[in-house]
């Protein structure tokens, strides 16, 4: 008898979810096998990369990360446009860092105005992330959801402590939510159930398992994502059959290993190359664990990851 390569028996499928509106809307999910196991199933939509834009000039960024955007850091609209025109971004992720109550503490109206301007200036899907302060995010997202009614923004992080408030705003004004749980598969499933009970429809939800970069516990994120996919694909767990979004740029670039200059520590080598590789390799690890959307920063890291996706899916 000829040898037969054993195959995983899949019984489930990841939901296909459309992010954004209009011609540039993107669809993610739909996998019927483990990530890139194209010999066992399908991956009808390749993972997408959203490029980060900040709503205020970043502080304490590594030089390498700042350099490509040095001319646009004070203007989120210009920044977003640069990502799309110069670097071919298919999605934008606007980080509302300035709303942080422990930082600039900008108000909800001002934040919403920025989101509105960016959303009107671009036609690719727009992810909007708050600061994970429940009270502040609730205040900000209520306003953001309202002034961008019907644009199908992707709003997050929506956590157990604020899912009712932000979830309700998202339902009311037709936006997608990012259900974020603290690297815990059981709590991740629970939040999806709670959002479903609240009335968030299955095609308006993506999951954020909370990730970290290489050297900072990425293996935990990997393991949780892997188990999410096992439950979704082999145990028909429909509460986990959602696309996964990974907010990875921030995690890699805040690490000492990405920031420290070569002059400060010569044995660390070229700082630019180091930061880019750290981001690209962390993103690659998460792709292999099942990421559907990666939030990334450096154009060269993005280029490397795009090449990796192309090679992994080449027929």
């Amino acid at each position: 008898m000829a040898f037969e390569i054993p195959k995983t028996a899949y019984s489930g499928k990841i939901k296909e979810i459309t992010l954004g509106k209009g011609e540039k809307a993107v669809t993610v999910g739909g996998e019927s096998s483990y990530p890139f196991y194209l010999f066992e199933g399908e991956m009808p939509h390749l993972p997408r990369i959203a490029m980060e834009v900040y709503d205020a000039p970043p502080e304490e960024w590594a030089e390498a990360a700042l350099e490509p955007f040095a001319d646009v850091v004070s203007d989120p609209v210009a920044w977003a446009n640069k990502c799309i025109k110069d670097y071919g971004a298919e999605m934008i992720c606007l980080q509302l860092a300035s709303t942080d109550p422990n930082g600039l503490d900008r108000g909800a109206d001002e934040a919403a105005e920025v989101v509105k301007r960016v959303s009107e200036a671009i036609d690719v899907p727009l992810i909007v992330l708050g600061t994970a302060n429940h009270d502040k995010d609730t205040e900000v997202f209520r306003k953001v959801a309202e002034v961008c009614h019907g644009k199908n923004l992707i709003l997050g992080p929506v956590e157990e402590g604020d899912y009712k408030q932000i979830g309700a705003a998202a339902i009311g004004y037709q936006h997608t939510v990012v259900a974020a749980s603290p690297i815990d598969i059981n709590l991740g499933k629970q939040l999806n159930i709670l959002l479903g009970n609240l009335g968030v429809s299955d095609d308006m939800l993506v999951m954020d398992p909370t990730v970290s970069g290489i050297g900072y516990g990425i293996e935990y994120a990997y393991s949780v994502m892997e188990r999410m996919r096992m439950a979704a694909l082999t145990q028909q767990d429909d509460k986990l059959q959602f696309p996964i979004i990974c907010n990875i740029a921030r995690e890699t670039w805040k690490a000492k290993e990405a920031k420290i200059s070569e002059a400060e520590d010569p044995k660390m080598g070229d700082a630019k190359k180091r930061g880019i590789l750290l981001e690209a390799m962390s993103a690659t690890v998460l792709l292999l664990a099942g990421a559907d959307v990666l939030i990334m920063r450096h154009p060269e890291a993005i280029k490397l990851v795009r090449e990796m996706i192309a090679e992994l899916t080449a027929s």
Binding site: I185, N186, L187, K189, Q190, I193, L194, N197, R227, A231, Q235, D237, K239, L240
Partner: protein, 292 residues
């Protein structure tokens, strides 16, 4: 099944205070209530009891024995306190517990031998929690060998395969069951026990009994001899005493691969079936597991 009541515990607000104040009233009342509920052994958990543990254990054993002659399960990690309890316990007590950690194993076994006591062999090794069923099995062999060498017969050994919370790591939940299925072959004559409520640690308080009961039924399939349980979960006690054969049969059939028609089950049966699916690793745990 032998039931060991877990309720006399220093972590409880009323019992903690009573122990501290050497006030026997609340403890003796709880003892009566546990016995009334159908408990066979009384666990006396005085915690690590670093300071004055011997005097405390002596006191609480005497206070409890003033109202009952049921056997006691002496629950402390302090060997001096353990010995103080063994000295005054009248009805063959149970040492809860002796682990395989090098500094605990030998002195623990010596105590058990000296006082001719029953003992819980906790499968906690030098490297902590065993990773799977095989490591548990290895620990069983080690433990029983060392105990026999000390002169302790298998009949005195109650193996605890370690129940860990469902919300932490399902593979550990499965490994504990798997070890139970092997135990009779690896350690003939040994008994078994588990801390039943551990399975539901970290889950919503009002739902914990469903996990405790269902997991107990699953372990019963492989001959679980005893369990340390919440004395006041009346349904759990009924199950342990063989009064709910239809529920036990449902869970056991599921373990053999039967897929019950959920729509045909009544509400109670459906809850057991859903919980069994979670504990068998067929459905991932979430706090809302009974609702989906």
């Amino acid at each position: 099944m032998i039931l060991i009541g877990e309720n006399i515990n220093i972590m409880s607000q009323t019992i903690g205070a009573a122990l501290k104040e050497r006030n026997p009233g609340p403890i003796q009342q709880l003892v009566r209530d546990e016995i009334e509920a159908g408990i066979d052994y009384l666990d006396l958990n005085i915690g690590p009891a670093r300071k004055g543990g011997d005097e405390l254990m002596d006191w609480v054993v005497n206070a409890v024995q003033a109202v009952t002659d049921k056997p006691l399960s002496l629950d402390t990690t302090n060997p001096v306190a353990m010995e103080a309890g063994l000295k005054v316990a009248k009805n063959k007590p149970l040492i809860n517990s002796i682990s395989l950690q090098p500094d605990r194993l030998e002195p623990g076994l010596q105590l058990a031998k000296r006082y001719n006591a029953n003992l819980i062999g906790l499968l906690w090794g030098a490297e902590g929690m065993p990773r799977d069923a095989n490591e548990r099995a290895m620990h069983v062999v080690d433990f029983v060998y060392k105990a026999n060498e000390t002169g302790i017969p298998n009949e005195h050994i109650w193996i605890d395969p370690i129940v860990s919370p469902v919300s932490v790591e399902i593979n550990q939940v499965k490994a504990c069951i798997e070890l139970m299925s092997m135990l009779a072959d690896i350690a003939p004559g040994c008994k078994s026990t588990v801390g039943m409520s551990n399975i539901s640690n970290g889950t919503p308080h009002n739902l914990r009994p469903w996990l405790n009961r269902t997991y107990m039924i699953m372990l019963m399939k492989y001959g679980l001899y005893s369990a340390i349980v919440d004395a006041f979960d009346t349904d759990l006690i009924k199950i342990a005493k063989g009064e709910r054969p239809e529920i036990v049969s449902l869970v056991h059939r599921m373990m053999e691969g039967e897929k019950p028609d959920m729509a045909a089950l009544n509400e109670e049966e459906a809850r057991y079936a859903k919980t069994a699916r979670v504990l068998m690793g067929e459905s991932l745990y979430s706090h809302s597991w009974l609702e989906i």
